[in-house]
Point group: C2
Chain length 250, copies 2
């Protein structure tokens, strides 16, 4: 909850939920169990009596050494699902990532969309939550692991799990690169989505949703989250374009 998305969740939804944090260091404004998700036993107490877990902890670096991705994302995500299962948590909202499919950006037409050349592309097939995975980096592969684990835990252990393939959320809360005109996700939009996942009825057992803002050059399907959850992004990277249509720069 000390991270970028966790902080946005706390600010925007703190009054609506009785949040508790599981974090390595204390988090201002919320009861916090201090532990590292690499240690299953150490995190277990944080799951007691909890209805739902929003699992945002990860090493999000695309260039992290394997050992770091392994610990934080592979082992850490297993520990979160296992602790949730043992505690009888009803739902886990898992922060997966668009990096599970951003390998598609290596090829046209997606390459044009993420390099500021979207206007040269007429139409493009949207990537859906059921398209084959195409991960970027060990990071993307680690999120594919998390989604596979989620599916298994739902089937075998009866909890509910929702995987959110989150786009690029920025501390500045605006697009920072040409690619962001495709994959940017505002803080308000990711918080809306997490809220909808927490509110969804128990009949939602397992699902995977992309989350990005309403960007003109987006290639990630938002029909499915709209139909299942009523999610509609309120923001758009295009509203941050400089006059004349040039992409904003950092």
């Amino acid at each position: 909850m000390s991270g970028l998305i966790g902080g946005a969740v706390l600010r925007q939804l703190g009054a609506a939920y009785a949040f508790g944090a599981l974090n390595r260091r204390a988090v201002a404004g919320v009861p916090c169990h201090q532990a590292d998700i690499v240690e299953l036993k150490a995190i277990q107490p944080a799951f007691a009596g909890v209805d739902a877990v929003v699992h945002l902890a990860a090493n999000a670096s695309m260039s992290a050494p394997f050992e770091d991705t392994l610990r934080a994302n592979v082992v850490g995500t297993y520990n979160v699902f296992e602790a949730a299962r043992r505690a009888g948590v009803k739902r886990v909202v898992f922060a997966s990532s668009g990096a599970t499919v951003s390998g598609y950006e290596r090829e046209m037409p997606y390459r044009a969309l993420v390099t500021g050349c979207g206007d040269e592309v007429g139409q493009w097939p949207m990537i859906s939550h059921e398209s084959p995975l195409r991960p970027s980096g060990l990071y993307g592969a680690s999120k594919a692991w998390g989604e596979a684990l989620a599916r298994y835990y739902v089937d075998a252990h009866g909890l509910s799990a929702v995987c959110l393939r989150i786009g690029h959320v920025t501390a500045e809360d605006r697009p920072l690169s040409p690619r962001d005109y495709s994959v940017w996700c505002s803080q308000r939009d990711i918080v809306q989505m997490i809220d909808r996942c927490l509110q969804a009825p128990p009949t939602l057992r397992f699902d995977v949703f992309f989350v990005v803002s309403d960007n003109k050059w987006n290639y990630r399907d938002l029909t499915h989250p709209r139909e299942v959850l009523g999610f509609r992004p309120l923001d758009s990277a295009d509203r941050h374009r400089a006059p004349g249509g040039a992409a904003a720069t950092p």
Copy 2:
């Protein structure tokens, strides 16, 4: 190569290839580099000068403790791809598993097919290599990780990778349970498939194939490997049925 499939490969293809083994203990009849795939540095020498790697090493137990699956399958498979990349290996044939999708067997009509009730099912939709993953156990999730890793290594590092979702290969080389009338794979059929993967032209960059024998109650698509590789299973679990159609028992 000391395992069930590795042994079958050596027996059936040993005269056609200059095999070397990477194995924890020595393997009779083949040069062997002894090391554990958990140790990247220790296995690296085995990859020098090699055209292709057939990665069969895994903890295949569906009930292995997480730590064992993590070491052998998650870390081990990363180490194999990374060592292959560093050595300039052209192709990795990765033994994935039908366990990436066998979660479908929890529900009808697949449940009937794997419980000896296939005759009660008229038709069923085949599960294809592009169907959403539905892993069984941590084992199935670890194979989903391996497939994601394979896709990433192909995209980012230019090697070729083929993922084989292998059915149930048995030491007795015949079906041993009612489920095997759906998912059994003869030793001859898996060896044929590995041979075809090694022989496929360099234009085959990345793909995923199911491998099972020609079983009446099979639900895993074999059209794709037939079209891409010319794979046709030579065996069938049904030929091992006792007179009267009853399933064989161990």
